[in-house]
Symmetry: C2
Subunit: 698 residues, 2 copies
C-alpha cells in the first residue's frame, strides 16, 4: 500500500514524458508559409505577453497570501502554497505555448485533409493535458511524500492542503482574467468588424482579430488548464484532508493501517487514471479516415479507452486496497468512484441536451427568434433555469450513490464513510484529466487554425477542414464540462466537511462548528453566501462590458484613422498589437476585484464567526452551483441557436431571426465563458481558504 504514492508520482512523471513527446511531435510539423508563421508568432506573442503580465500581477497577490499562510498556518505551508501556484502557472504557460505553435501547423496539415490535421491539433492539446495532469499530480505526491511520509512534520495536512490553495489562486485569476480577455476581444472583433464594418469573421483587416485568437488561447486553453489543474488537485486533496481532519488521525499517525488505505485510495485512482490517459492518448490517430464520423470516433477513442481502463482499474484496486474492509464490501468505494464518473457523464449529456441544436431547447430558442430578441433572451433564460433543476437532480443522485458506496466499504454507521465516498466520486470524474484536457484544448487549436487559414487568405477548402475539426470536439468537450462542474460540487462539499472537522480538530475538540441553519449567525451566513454568487456574476459581467467597450473604441479608431484599412488596400495592416495590449491591460485590471472577493470574504467572515462562515460556504455552494449551471447552459444554448440559424433555419444568416439570435449569443458570451466557469472556482477557493485557515479562526 505504501507504494501507491510513489506509483502515482511515477505515473505523473510518465505523463510529463508524454507531454514532452507530443511537444516534439508537434514541433517537427511545418507551420506553413511566411504569412502563417507571422500570424502564429503574433498570436503566440500576444498570448505569452498576457500570461506573463497576468502572472506578474497574480504573483504579488500570491506572495502576500504565502506570507499570510506562512505566518498564520505554518512556514512550510507557504512553500507548498507557492509550489501549487507555480506548477499551475508552469503548466498553463507550457501548454499554451505549444497550443500556439500547433495552430498554424494544424492549418498547414489541413491542406492534406482532416485525417492529417486531427493528430496535430490533438497532440498540441495533449501537451496542455499532460502538463496539467502530470505537474498537478507530481507536485501533490512530492508534497505528500515529503511532509506526511518522510518528515512527518506537524500540520502536515494543512501543508498539503495549502498546495491546493496555491493552485486555486492561479485558477481563479486565470479563469476570471482569461474569461474577461477572451470575451472582450470577441465582442470587440464581432461588433465593430462584423456588424459595423461589415467584414467577415477573422478578416485580416480587423485589428481585433489577432486579439480574438489570443483570447481563445488565454481563455479556453490557459484558463481552462488552470481550472482543471486546481479541480484535479483539489479532488485528490479533498478526501485526503477529509480523512486527516476528521480527527481519526493526526499527521503523526499517518502510518497506521486502516487510515492509510483511505489516504492512498485517491492516489491510486489518480494513478490508474493517468495510466489510462496515456494509453488512451496514443490511440487518437487520424488514420485514413475522411468522413467526420470516423474522425469523431478517432478523437473519442482516447477518452473512452482512458475511462474504461480507469473503471476496470478502480474496481480491481478497491478489492486490493480494501481487502480487509470492516464490512467485507471492498467494492463500495469503487461504486462511489464509478458512480461519480457516470453522473459526470450524465451531467455533460444534460448540458448537451440543453445546448445542442439536435434537441428541443435550442430549437425552441431558434423558434423564438422569430418574435425578436426579447423572446429569444427570455427563452434562453428559462432554458438555463430549467437545466439547473435537472443538473442538481443528477448531482444529488451522485451524492446519494457515492455516500451509499462509501458506507458499504467503511461501515454504514459511520458518517465519514459516506462523506469519503462523495469525495472520491469527484476523482472518478477527473482521473482522466490528462486526456480530457487534451481534447478540451484541441478545440481552440482547431479554432485558431481556422482563424489563421482565414487571415492568411488560404484556399477556402482549408477553412472547411478546420471547421470540421472544430465541431468534432464539441461532444467530448461537453462531457469534460460536466466533469468539471460535477466535481466542483462534490469537491466543494467534501472540503466543506473537512473544514467542519478541521475547526474541531484545530481547537482540540473545544470548538465544534455549529452549523444548524436555525441559528441566527449560520442563517445570516447562509444568506450572505446565497447573495455572493450574484455579486460575483454581476462584477464579471460588468468587467467584460467595460473591457469590451475599450476594445470597441480602439477598433473604431483604427478603422477611422488608418487610411485604406477598411477597404483592404494592399500593404495596409492594422495595429493588432495595440488591441492585444488594450485587452490585456483591461482584463487584468478587471480581474482584481472579483478575484480578491473570493479570498477576502471568507477570511473576514471567518475571523468574525466560524459558524457564519460555515453558513456562508453552504449558501454560496448551492446558489453558486445553480447560478453557474444556469449561466453556462443559457449561454451555450444561445450560441448554438445562432449557429443553427446560420445553417439556414428560420431565414438563415442576415435575417431578422439571425439578428435576434446574435443578441442572445452576445448576452450569453460572458455567461458561458466568464461568469459561469469562474463561479465553480469561486466556490472551491472560498472553501479551501476556509479550510486552510480553519485553525487560525478558532
Amino acid at each position: 500500500m505504501d507504494v501507491i504514492p510513489y506509483l502515482a508520482a511515477i505515473s505523473a512523471l510518465a505523463g510529463l514524458g508524454v507531454a514532452y513527446f507530443y511537444f516534439k511531435a508537434v514541433e517537427k510539423e511545418s507551420p506553413g508559409n511566411e504569412r502563417m508563421v507571422f500570424l502564429m508568432t503574433e498570436i503566440q506573442k500576444g498570448a505569452k505577453a498576457f500570461l506573463q503580465k497576468e502572472y506578474q500581477w497574480v504573483s504579488i497577490f500570491a506572495v502576500g497570501m504565502a506570507i499570510l499562510v506562512g505566518a498564520v498556518i505554518a512556514p512550510l505551508a507557504a512553500l507548498t502554497y507557492l509550489l501549487g501556484a507555480m506548477l499551475s502557472a508552469t503548466a498553463g504557460y507550457a501548454g499554451m505555448t505549444v497550443a500556439t505553435m500547433a495552430n498554424a501547423r494544424t492549418t498547414e496539415a489541413a491542406k492534406e485533409g482532416p485525417a492529417k490535421a486531427l493528430p496535430v491539433a490533438f497532440r498540441g492539446g495533449a501537451v496542455m493535458g499532460f502538463c496539467v495532469a502530470g505537474l498537478a499530480l507530481l507536485g501533490l505526491m512530492v508534497t505528500y511524500i515529503v511532509f506526511v511520509k518522510l518528515l512527518e512534520v506537524d500540520d502536515a495536512f494543512e501543508i498539503v492542503t495549502a498546495y491546493g490553495l496555491g493552485a486555486s489562486t492561479i485558477a481563479l485569476f486565470s479563469r476570471v482574467g482569461g474569461g474577461i480577455y477572451t470575451k472582450a476581444a470577441d465582442v470587440g472583433a464581432d461588433l465593430v468588424g462584423k456588424v459595423e464594418a461589415g467584414i467577415p469573421e477573422d478578416d485580416p483587416r480587423n485589428p481585433a482579430t489577432i486579439a480574438d485568437n489570443v483570447g481563445d488561447n488565454v481563455g479556453d486553453v490557459a484558463g481552462m488548464g488552470a481550472d482543471l489543474f486546481e479541480s484535479y488537485a483539489g479532488s485528490i486533496i479533498a478526501p485526503i484532508s477529509l480523512v486527516a481532519f476528521a480527527g481519526a488521525i493526526g499527521a503523526e499517525q499517518a502510518g497506521d493501517t486502516g487510515v492509510v488505505e483511505l489516504l492512498v485510495f485517491p492516489m491510486f485512482v489518480a494513478f490508474i487514471g493517468m495510466v489510462g490517459s496515456i494509453i488512451g492518448s496514443f490511440l487518437v490517430k487520424g488514420g485514413d479516415s475522411t468522413d467526420s464520423k470516423s474522425l469523431s470516433k478517432a478523437l473519442h477513442m482516447g477518452t473512452n479507452v482512458a475511462m474504461g481502463i480507469t473503471v476496470a482499474g478502480v474496481l480491481a484496486g478497491s478489492f486490493w486496497i480494501f481487502a480487509d474492509a470492516p464490512e467485507d464490501k471492498p467494492w463500495g468505494l469503487a461504486v462511489s468512484v464509478i458512480g461519480g464518473l457516470i453522473v459526470g457523464w450524465a451531467l455533460g449529456k444534460t448540458a448537451e441536451y440543453y445546448t445542442s441544436d439536435h434537441f428541443k431547447p435550442v430549437k425552441d430558442i431558434a423558434q423564438q427568434t422569430e418574435t425578436g430578441p426579447a423572446t429569444t433572451v427570455l427563452k434562453g433564460i428559462s432554458i438555463g433555469m430549467v437545466s439547473v433543476f435537472a443538473s442538481v437532480g443528477l448531482i444529488l443522485v451522485g451524492i446519494a450513490v457515492a455516500y451509499w458506496g462509501g458506507q458499504q466499504t467503511l461501515g454504514d454507521d459511520t458518517t465519514l464513510g459516506g462523506l469519503y465516498g462523495i469525495a472520491v466520486a469527484a476523482i472518478g470524474m477527473l482521473a482522466t484529466t490528462g486526456v480530457v484536457v487534451s481534447v478540451d484544448a484541441y478545440g481552440p487549436i482547431a479554432d485558431n487554425a481556422g482563424g489563421i487559414a482565414e487571415m492568411a487568405e488560404l484556399d477556402p477548402s482549408v477553412r472547411e477542414v478546420t471547421d470540421a475539426l472544430d465541431s468534432l470536439g464539441n461532444t467530448t468537450a461537453a462531457i469534460a464540462k460536466g466533469f468539471a462542474v460535477g466535481s466542483a460540487a462534490l469537491t466543494a462539499l467534501a472540503l466543506f466537511k473537512s473544514f467542519e472537522f478541521a475547526v474541531s480538530t484545530a481547537s482540540n475538540g473545544e470548538t465544534v462548528l455549529n452549523l444548524n441553519i436555525g441559528e441566527i449567525d449560520v442563517f445570516i451566513g447562509l444568506f450572505i453566501g446565497a447573495a455572493l454568487p450574484f455579486l460575483f456574476a454581476a462584477l464579471t459581467i460588468d468587467a467584460v462590458g467595460r473591457a469590451a467597450a475599450k476594445m470597441i473604441e480602439e477598433v473604431r479608431r483604427q478603422f477611422r484613422e488608418i487610411p485604406g484599412l477598411r477597404e483592404g488596400q494592399e500593404g495596409v495592416i492594422p495595429d493588432s498589437a495595440r488591441c492585444v495590449a488594450i485587452s490585456t491591460e483591461a482584463s487584468l485590471k478587471e480581474m482584481i476585484i472579483p478575484g480578491a472577493l473570493a479570498v477576502v470574504v471568507p477570511l473576514v467572515i471567518g475571523f468574525i464567526s466560524v459558524d457564519a462562515l460555515g453558513g456562508l460556504l453552504a449558501g454560496a455552494l448551492v446558489t453558486g452551483f445553480a447560478l453557474a449551471i444556469f449561466m453556462a447552459n443559457a449561454g451555450g444554448a444561445w450560441d448554438n441557436a445562432k449557429k443553427y440559424i446560420e445553417t439556414g433555419q428560420h431565414g438563415g444568416k442576415g435575417s431578422d431571426s439571425h439578428k435576434a439570435a446574435v443578441v442572445g449569443d452576445t448576452v450569453g458570451d460572458p455567461f458561458k465563458d466568464t461568469s459561469g466557469p469562474a463561479m465553480n472556482i469561486l466556490l472551491k477557493v472560498m472553501t479551501i481558504v476556509s479550510l486552510v485557515f480553519a485553525s487560525a479562526f478558532v
Copy 2:
C-alpha cells in the same frame, strides 16, 4: 391585556366600515359619457370573469387541501383554512370591483384637474386597502378568540396557522395567474398593436387593449391585494405560532401571563397600525393643489401619518405590555418593530435607487442601449444582481437589529427572544397595510383611467392629467414593495423557526429537527431548495411566453379578418371579449403547475425526511429571495430606462436606442410582474405548508 384581541377585531371592523364609506364616495361620482361607461363595464366584466374563473379553479384545489388539512391536522383547521381562503378571495373581489368602478370616474374627474381626480383614484384604491387589512385582521382575530381564548381546543395554534395557509393559497394562485394574465395581455397588445400595426398604446382599434386594462386590475390590483392579505396575516401569525410552538406553552396554557404578552403584542401592533391607516387615509385630499409636488405630498401624507402613529403607538404600547419585562427593557421589541419599518423603507429606497431614472443604474442601462439590445440586457442583469447584495445586506441589518431588540426585552440568553424580535419586525412593515395597499391600488386605477381617456378619445389634456396622477404613486409604491419583500424574508424566517419548534412539540420533544448543514440529508434539501426558485422562475417565464403567443395570434387574426379595423373605419370595433377570454383561459391553465409545485414539493419531501425539508426551506428562502430581488429590480430598471429614453434621451422614441430599450423592457416584464412577485409567496407558502403539516410529518 386580554382586551387587545378584541381591540384589534374592532379596529378591523372599523377598517371595513371605512372601506364601505370609500365605496359609497366613489359610487356617487359620475363615470362619464356612454362610451366611458361602456369601456368601464367591459373592463369590469373581463376582470370579474377572470376572478370568478380563477376562484372556481382554485376552489377545487382549496377544497382538496382543506380535506387534507382536516384529515391530517384537525377538522377545525379545515374550517379556518377555508375561512382564510374565502376572506382573501372576498377582499380581492370587492376591492377589484370598486377599482374597476373608480377608473372611469377618475377619468371623468380628471376633466376638472388633478386635484379633483386624485381623491377618486385614491378612494377607489382604499376600498381594496381596507378590505384587505380589515378582512385579514378580522378573520384572524375571530379565529384566535374563538379557538384559543374561548373554546381552548387542542391544536388551537395549528388551527390559527391554517388560516394563514388558506390566505397563502389564494395569494399564490392570484399572483401567478394574475401575473401571467397581465403580462400576456400587455405583450400581446404591445407587440402586435404598437410594433406590427403601428398604432399607439391604448388605441381603441387594438383588440387587446381591453384585455391589457383588465390585466392591470387582475394583476396589480387583485393579485397585489391577495399578496398583501397573506403577507399581513402571515406576519401576525408568525410571531404567534413561534411563541406557541416554541414549547413554552401549549394551547391550554394560553391564559398564563408572560406568554400572553407575546401573543397579544403582534395584535397590538396590527391594531395601532389600523388606527393609523384609517386616520392617514382621511388626510389624502386633493385640496386646491395643481402642481405635481403638492399633489404628491397629499398622496404621501396618508402613509406618513399612518406610519408616524404606528411608531408612536408601538413605542407607547411596548411600555404598557412589557411593563414587567424580566430585563426591565420594555422598549426592546419596539426597537424590533421600528427597526423592521426602517429597513423596509430602506429596502424600498434601494429598489428605487436601482430602478428610478434619477440615479446612475438606470442611466447606465440607457447608455448601454446605444450599443444595442445585447448590452442593454447584460447591463440590466448585472444591475439586478448587484442590487441583490445591497438588499440582502439591509435585510441582515434588519434581522440583527430585530434580534437584538427582542433579546433586550425577553432576556439576552433566550434564543426565542431574538427570533420573536425578527417575527414582529415583519409586522412593523405591514401594520399600515390599509393605507399602503390603498396607494398601491391607486396606481393601476390611474393607469386604467388613462386607458379609458385614450379609448374614449377624450381631449389629450385629460390623458395628461391621468398620466401625472399615474406617476405620483411610484415612490410610495416602491416603499410598499420594499415592505412586501422585506416582510416576506422575515416572516418566512420566523415561520421556518416555528416549523422547527413545531416538529419538536408535535413529537413531544422526541423528534428534534437536525438542521445541521453538514448532515447529508439537510444538505441535499438545501440543494433542492436552491434549485427550486430557478425552476419556478423558468416555469412562470415560459407560461407568460405561451400565453402571450396565443394572444398575439388572436390579435393578428382580428386585424387580418375584420375588415376596416386597422384603418379605424367608423363603427368597426374589435372583438375585445375574445381576447379577454383567451388571456383568461391561457393564464389559468398556466397557473396550475407552478402553483401546485409550491404545495406539493414540501409535502413530498416532508414525508420522506423532515430534516431534508428543513434544508429545502432554508435553501429556497435564501436563493428565492435573491432571485426575487434580482428579477424585480432588473425588470424595473429596464422599464424605467425605456421610459427615460422616451423622454428624449439617447435619441428618444423610435431611435435604435429606444428599440434596444424596448427589448430590455420586454425581457423584464415577466421578471418584475410575474416571476419576481410570485417568488416571495412561493417561499412563504412552502414554509407555512411545512408548518401546518409539521405534526403529520413526525
